[in-house]
């Protein structure tokens, strides 16, 4: 198996672990961190292809994704803070008010 394939496999594993972590863990902040893990997995795959194609656009895109991740975390964490302040717990099971 070549390097690229190895890295792509790692990227797939990271992405999967991130998604499953969101399903499985019972703490809002931990779930947020698993989301970041997912994003990192995807970024790794992007990096592999940037390397393979030698494209600058790939590098620029990775940088922009960093920017977006930073913006996202800047909003997500205060939302969690507000939620916890109102609901007094980090367990997402308690926040089932929007059930259909």
């Amino acid at each position: 198996m070549s390097d690229a394939n190895l890295l792509l496999a790692v990227s797939a594993m990271l992405f999967t672990l991130g998604l499953v972590g969101v399903v499985v863990r019972r703490n809002l902040l931990v779930m947020l961190m698993f989301l970041e893990l997912m994003l990192n997995g995807v970024l790794l795959s992007l990096a592999v292809f940037t390397f393979l194609l030698g494209a600058e656009a790939g590098a620029v895109l990775m940088f922009l994704v960093f920017v977006v991740a930073a913006a996202e975390i800047a909003i997500a964490v205060p939302i969690v803070l507000l939620l916890v302040r109102a609901g007094r717990t980090l367990d997402p099971g308690s926040y089932a008010g929007l059930k259909g």
Binding site: M13, L14, L17, V24
Partner: protein, 180 residues
Amino acid sequence: MTIETVFLSIFSLGALAGAVAMFFLRHPMRVALALIGTMISLAAIYAQLGLHVIAVFQVLIYVGAVMVFMIYAIMLLDVRDRSFTERFSPMLVAGLAGLLLLVGVLIDGLLRGEPLVAPVVREDVFSVGTFAIAFMDEFWVYFALAAVLLLVAEIAASAVIDIRRRGEDLAAARREKRDE
């Protein structure tokens, strides 16, 4: 087996180890630290691939800003409730089944393709200089859009803070009424 492959394998292992550790650690702070470990391993991988600029930015932005912010939030919300005593949600079994499924599908998809061989590239194709020129020259529109996004995020954060303060005032007022 070249030296690059060895390095890549070591750091890949590190990233995966960090990810798996995140799974089983109970304290959120430890989870954050495991994630930081994974991110740094990834930075090393990027560097190995020649994407030095990106590697630097990975550490600077991701670890230095995003994870620090996460750690700040974890310290603020140190709640020892059910989310601490019970790590896993009711969907554990289903989640693990999904894990196996997704990994299986992805690896299967990966194996179907031909092995990808890296071309020989110039040394400095991803250097800081070329990166900066490309960024400001060809992709300046996206740069501007990214700036707008950051501005919006900042405004949103300010708005959230205001709500929080208003919410705090209301809560305080209610508590006063109760005490009377």
